[in-house]
Each structure stands twice: as structure tokens, then as C-alpha cells.
Amino acid sequence: MEDILRVENLSKQFGGLKAVDQFSMNVQRNAIHALIGPNGAGKTTITNLICGEIQQDSGEILFQGESLGTLKVFERARKGIGRTYQNIRLFDTLTVLENMTVAAKVEHSYGMLRTIFSYKSSQMEKKERRDKAMDILKYIGLEHLANEHVRGLPYGNRKILEIGRALVTEPSLLLLDEPAAGLNPSERRRLMDIIYKIHEDQISVFMIEHNMDVIMTISDRITVLNFGKKIAEGTPKEIQNNEEVITAYLGNRFKKQGA
């Protein structure tokens, strides 16, 4: 199958620390691909490199066959890389609906002067944004909260809303940074249902996650990172039985025991 994202020999150093070291990975189109690894393995650095928040020292990232080069975050997002954040980043003083309308990708987008002087244009754009936002809110099951302020929303709904806000930009690749963190079991179920639905709608999903139950249940493929390097890649079953992965997660036994 075709790759939506190819990461080739990516390296990034912070001071003396090699956060990402010659890392390569292919994410297949329409797959759910997970990146896992112990604390400090470099997962968030890789996500930030893909999104353009930071620039790599060497290596290349190709999205839909095209090098992302030095494109800025918003330019990459426009190309179809949507994302969520580890610590939810919503627009807290806006309503649920407004969070969505701000991000919505629309056909009719007018400049400031036209917004000021043409009532018709500005209403048309408003309506298109609103309709689109409502569609996605229905899709993620939050339409009943459309006019609520985000600040008062329960944690689980905020996490789901952030996924919705990424979806309304019409991504072809969705990056989820720890989507299950802090969710209770029923919210987790809801999250997994939504990820499945996104997957069925032909959007590729790339996620970082610590909850192994979630990872092992929904991923097609898993890449394992340790100390900035890829140590394994494969299906959930393969990963669970990979000796190197087990060592990375559970460590070695004490050598001097009995000595």
C-alpha cells in the first residue's frame, strides 16, 4: 500500500542530547499507526518535527510524496496534517462551535475589507463555516454542546473536541498526541470508536499513546522508539513478543544478584 508519510533518517539534537537519532518510518495510507516508547524516548520530538514546530538537523519528511522541507506549521496543516496536543490546546474563551468554525477549511474565505463591506459575502462565509462545524460536531457526538463555553467542559469532552477541531481542517493524516491520557474507561471506549470511524473514513491516523490496551486494540502497525532510535516495528502481536521491546520497557534484571 502507498505511504502517506515517509520519515527518512531523521535526527534532532538538543544540546548534547540526541533526542532523535537516524529515525526512519513509513506510515501507510489509511492505517492506524502508533509510535510508542518509554518516557523520554523522543516521541513528542518526532511529532513536533512532523508538524514543523521544530526543524530537524538532518533527514527528510515526505508527506504524500512531497518533501515538507522548511514549511511552517500552518502550511503543513493546510497540506493536510491535522493534530491534537498532549496538553489540550483549545480556545478556552470561545464556544465549542466557535472553536470549530475558526479552524474550518472552507471554499469561501474572504479578506478583511470584503468582510467589512459586503454583508452577503460575510454571511455566506459564516454559514459555510457553521454548517461544516456542525457536521463534524455531530460526527463526534458533541453537537448538543455547540454553544457551551469550552472552559466549562469536562475533560473527556475537551479531548474529543480537540480531535473534532483537527478534523474540521480536513486532514488526510491525523496526529494524535496521547489521546487516551486522563480518560476514564467509558471515555476511552468513546475515543476508540471515534478513531475507528475516522479510520473508516479514509483518514490516516498516527498516534503517540501510553495506554497499551488502546494501542494494542486499535493499531495496525506499531513503531517502538527508545533513546531516539527505532528498535522495532510490526503488528501489535509482534511487538508484544519482541525481546528488545520487552527489555526497553521492563529493563534488565539485576546482574549482581546472587553474586
Binding site: 475533560y155 497499551m212 508484544q240 521492563l250 529493563g251
Partner: protein, 236 residues
């Protein structure tokens, strides 16, 4: 010694610990293991009074620690060595170690005695006594953090991820030191580790935390051979 009953801790709306029960006896190493985000650090911080539990009890020698300020908990002899080796980079090794006795009123002679005793456990630190803390290697910095902790005359020593970011051979050394401390000082030690096999091999008993729940506990010797541990880290 330390007893925890039905502890529930929240960060805002997110529940970090669910009904945690735990017991640490005199003169044993108890390890708390679990993957990232299992709640290990939350538990430590709660014991140290940095988080206030929503419900539950933490008893030290039968006396409640809940609601006490961190500095008072330290005065009770609960010493916490945080992850990431928070040493003073600009201060010398000697000054770093002295800082550990800050809240105790010691005469210079007593201080010297205690320091000699601690340095006996860490000969490497004695060699570098006048070097600045920041110039030490990762393993030495961890040793220094432990040495500083010991200067507080702990009745209960808690270590958060002492193996974090250290090379495997150094990890062995650090754990060797932890065993030595227990043998010489006869104090209980709580060892919080991601490095599960290592923690299991040097501790007497272990609690496995998973997403804020204690999902397994028992003798470390038994747990190390069980599939339970692997499952809690890698799912299944």
C-alpha cells in the same frame, strides 16, 4: 511503618490514583512499578504532601501525614529523592551533601561524622568532593542525590526513578548502592521504577500500578516470573 489506605487523588478532573492501598514494613525495599502515567510519581508527591488526596489515609507509624506541609513531613524523616537528579550544579559535591542536613541542627563535628559515613557508601563521591555538582557524570549525580538524601537521616527513603537516563552498567551500580543502604541503615526504602525487572530483582515486595490502580502486588520473587508484569507494560 507506612500504611496507605483507600487513597484517591485527582489532578483537576483527572483521577490519578484510585483506591490505592499499600503497606511498607520496617527494613524492606518495596518497589512500585508501572508504565508511564501509571500514577507512580503522583503517589510519591501525595505522600510528600505536595498533592492533597480527595480521600484516603497515609499513616506513618500510625500517625496521619495527610494535610501536613512537605517540610514537616521531611522533619518526620520521610526523605524523597525526586527523579531527574535535582542536584545543585554550581555547588561542590561537599556543599551538595551538606544541603541534605540543612533542616537538622548538627554541630560541625556531627556533620563531619555523618558525612564520613555517607561517603563510605559512595567512595566515588569522596574522590570528587570539591568538584562542582554539574561536572559529575549522570550516574555520579544520581549517587550525589542519594547521598544528600541520606544526610537528612531518613526513617523512610523514597526514590523516584533512580535509573532514569542512566547506562545499564551504571544502573547496576546505583541499585547495588540501594541494597547497601538498606543493609547498613535498616531503613525501609520505597523504590519507584519504570525499569521493572531491575526493581523486582532488588526489592522484597512490589506493587504494580496501572492507570492509577494497584493491579498486582506481592513478593517480588513471585512477580518477576509472572506474565502479569509484562501485560501491565505492553498490554495483552
Amino acid at each position: 511503618m507506612l500504611e496507605i489506605k483507600g487513597l484517591n487523588v485527582f489532578y483537576g478532573e483527572v483521577q490519578a490514583l484510585h483506591d490505592v492501598d499499600m503497606f511498607v514494613g520496617q527494613d524492606e525495599i518495596v518497589s512500585i512499578i508501572g508504565a508511564n502515567g501509571a500514577g507512580k510519581s503522583s503517589l510519591m508527591k501525595t505522600i510528600m504532601g505536595e498533592n492533597r488526596p480527595k480521600s484516603g489515609e497515609i499513616l506513618l507509624h500510625g500517625e496521619s501525614l495527610v494535610g501536613k506541609h512537605t517540610h514537616n513531613i521531611v522533619k518526620e524523616g520521610v526523605i524523597y529523592i525526586p527523579e531527574g537528579r535535582k542536584i545543585f550544579y554550581e555547588l561542590s559535591v561537599k556543599e551538595n551533601i551538606e544541603m541534605g542536613a540543612y533542616s537538622r541542627k548538627l554541630t560541625p563535628k556531627q556533620l563531619q561524622e555523618e558525612m564520613d559515613y555517607v561517603l563510605d557508601i559512595f567512595p566515588r563521591l569522596r574522590e570528587r568532593i570539591n568538584q562542582a555538582g554539574g561536572t559529575l557524570s549522570g550516574g555520579e549525580q544520581q549517587m550525589l542525590a542519594i547521598a544528600r538524601g541520606l544526610m537528612g537521616n531518613p526513617k523512610l527513603l523514597m526514590m523516584d526513578e533512580p535509573s532514569l537516563g542512566l547506562a545499564p552498567i551504571i544502573v547496576d551500580e546505583v541499585f547495588d548502592v540501594i541494597r547497601t543502604i538498606r543493609e547498613q541503615k535498616h531503613i525501609p526504602i520505597i523504590l519507584v521504577e519504570q525499569n521493572a525487572y531491575m526493581a523486582l530483582s532488588i526489592s522484597q515486595r512490589t506493587y504494580v500500578l496501572e492507570l492509577g490502580y494497584v493491579t498486582a502486588s506481592g513478593k517480588s520473587m513471585d512477580l518477576i516470573e509472572s506474565e502479569e508484569i509484562k501485560k501491565s507494560y505492553l498490554g495483552g
